[in-house]
Assembly symmetry: C2
Homo-oligomer: 404 residues x 2
């Protein structure tokens, strides 16, 4: 077990403001910082000195200046601090290491332990994190903290998984405290879809970004970004769309989800039930999310290989998902929809060619909406969890609470 | 036709800032204004003098002060300026006169002319507005402008009704320009649900207000208020929820709406079709929104009088609407839902006793959500349209464009 004290985490508000300005405007001078922050010249001088000593920022070479003393551009020292992002999908456990510039330095994807004891999973996560830091040769005291993205519903303020339908043994699990205990790192817990939207938003260009993110993994969820703000909901549980009816004529599956709902349309468990029903494959153990996920991969492989039955099944899933996206776009009047999550790279080949036109048919007040796959990729929720940690320390704003 | 010039509308930005401060903090002193606005003492002195001369604010009696010269409290002169709010529901035309404090001074509700020629309706609106101003004895040059709340989809920036399904003859109608022409007043056009949410938000207390507003009239729509901001959507067309499936097993009605959709569950046309099918009443002319609205009133009266068939029909509508509200709350994670619009006072008696529990059953991440009827009442969209005009002139912020 690693433990370490971290001076960075104790930084004052002014230091966080200055560091955030350098992150957002690489190459700013001390005079720029003074003007932007409203802090005194002496304070800027002290803070930048401390940030340089702590290896969080560094001076880069000044551009040539016609006259006078050139101002020295300040940039982030990307190796000065790191964060770890963990995404717990019931089938896939993703862990990434982000540097201070927000780049993924290392990433791992494991199968989520199907243990009925959450303590076992917590221990596995701690081992994976430890292995990643060892591999990257990074001391714990350079790690700002650990962000966990998990399926809801959550009590983000208390750091609890409440009663996630996708993790039936994880009722009222103190995940934040347990992982703080197991890793010695400050830990933040947030919802998978919120973390995913955070990472997707960071990958967007400047300007006003407004979109709906549809998360496809062992479960389905949505998140909403309005004018560069990730909407969280007043209990941080925004995005429960599994019960949204997308096909009134859908078959009744042998499972607990709503008939014709968005979850029944596209989550691996429902797709595998549908595939087994038409004789494409034997039914895996539905209590084993990894087995279900593997069977879903096999279904997607069959479709890619040209199997007509598998292809029709995924086409039907695409039609149903498009109806759900239509509901979201009609309600929220957003110009863009992004699809992502650990299932997306498998469904994308069947979905992307048809979903944009299918969604357009559903629209009431718009002609079109842009439908895109995640620019971040399958790790999107883990990356977002790491970015939420960075934000917590480097850009003090309202966000999930940190333990430790 | 009334025409008038209005000095108020030409006010500069600083004057708007000062007036907005007095509106929001009745009793502020000039010193308070100087501190809050950052403007110079001389500028505050000039602006307050001008606002007093224009009868937009007035000095009230100072509270007793122990020593020194007491500061003079400034308050809004509520008769200093007015706005007119118009709500065009296909069946009911509502017009209200708001004073500078935002109070409704006079209101009228008329049947919307069922003319196939929009010009006829525009003329009727102008007549009603003119009659209201005459009755209130208010000169046109004291009226800041006219706000119109109309069913979508709209092009708010161009002031156009695009292709409202509820107003089939109103395709690409230049409603803003036509009403400016007909009244001589500056005119602003916005969506019915956006206007309604604006008025409902103003009626809320201080603190953070987050809720979904479900509009029930000749059509159904939703609007979203997040932390005291009315969300508009990027084309100002947020809230199209009529196609949201709320009952997969619903009967197919003889109309164009989606089977099992929220519109099919609760708009007057669908309710009247359902009532006629079970023999409760003859079918009115479905192209006449006033006739349909009257038939719907008769249905609600039957239920109130204890007719079992009518009651069961409205109970089923309540169950379906509750499913729709559940979808919205699960998606948006809001703590409160408000129901309103011109149909609400008729449906409320059947809905309010049962909808809160029915919605609670649908929730995934919350135990409860507060379900309330509009605090503003049936005029909510008209009041909101008037408030949007006030905001446009008195608190310059991003909002719908004004013509004139």
């Amino acid at each position: 077990m690693r433990r370490g004290s971290n001076q960075l985490r104790l930084a004052d508000y002014n230091q966080a403001v200055v560091l955030d300005l350098v992150r957002r405007s690489p190459g700013v001078s001390r005079a720029d910082l003074q003007r932007e922050s409203g802090l005194s010249s002496q304070t800027i001088s002290n803070i930048t000195r401390r940030l340089i000593d702590d290896r969080l920022i560094r001076e880069s070479a000044p551009a040539g200046s016609a006259r006078g003393r050139p101002s020295i551009p300040l940039v982030i020292d990307r190796d000065g601090a790191y964060s770890v992002g963990v995404h717990i999908d019931p089938a896939r456990l993703t862990v990434v290491l982000l540097d201070l510039e927000g780049r993924v330095r290392l990433g791992r994807q494991e199968r989520t332990p199907q243990a009925t004891d959450p303590a076992r999973t917590t221990a596995v996560i701690a081992e994976v994190v430890d292995g990643l830091l060892t591999e990257a040769d990074i001391a714990t005291d350079r790690v700002l903290g650990l962000g966990i993205a998990a399926p809801g519903p959550l009590d983000v303020d208390a750091g609890l998984l409440l009663d996630p339908p996708q993790l039936p043994d994880w009722r009222n699990v103190r995940l934040r405290a347990d992982l703080h205990e197991a890793t010695g790192l400050p830990v933040l817990l947030d919802k998978d879809v919120t973390a995913a939207a955070t990472a997707e938003l960071r990958s967007c260009g400047a300007g006003s970004n407004t979109f709906v993110f549809l998360y496809l993994g062992s479960g389905v969820g949505a998140s909403i970004v309005l004018d560069n703000q990730v909407v969280r909901g007043t209990t941080n549980n925004l995005g429960e769309v599994g019960d949204l009816v997308v096909d009134p004529d859908a078959e009744q599956l042998e499972w607990s989800g709503r008939r014709g709902g968005l979850a029944a349309a596209c989550v691996p468990e429902a797709l595998v039930l549908q595939a087994a029903r038409v004789g494409l494959m034997p039914l895996p153990n539905l209590n084993d999310y990894v087995a279900v996920d593997d069977a879903c991969s096999a279904l997607c492989d069959l479709a890619s290989a040209g199997d007509a039955v598998a292809s029709r099944l995924l086409e039907r899933a695409a039609r149903r998902v498009a109806v759900g996206l239509g509901v979201l776009v009609n309600l929220l009047d957003v110009p863009r929809v992004v699809l992502g999550g650990p299932l997306w790279s498998r469904l994308g080949p069947a979905f992307l060619p048809v979903v944009p036109d299918l969604v357009a048919r559903e629209l009431v007040a718009r002609e079109r909406v842009l439908v895109q796959g995640s620019a971040v990729g399958d790790q999107v929720a883990a990356v977002g969890a790491g970015e939420l940690v960075m934000d917590h320390f480097l850009a003090p704003r309202a966000s999930a609470l940190m333990m430790g």
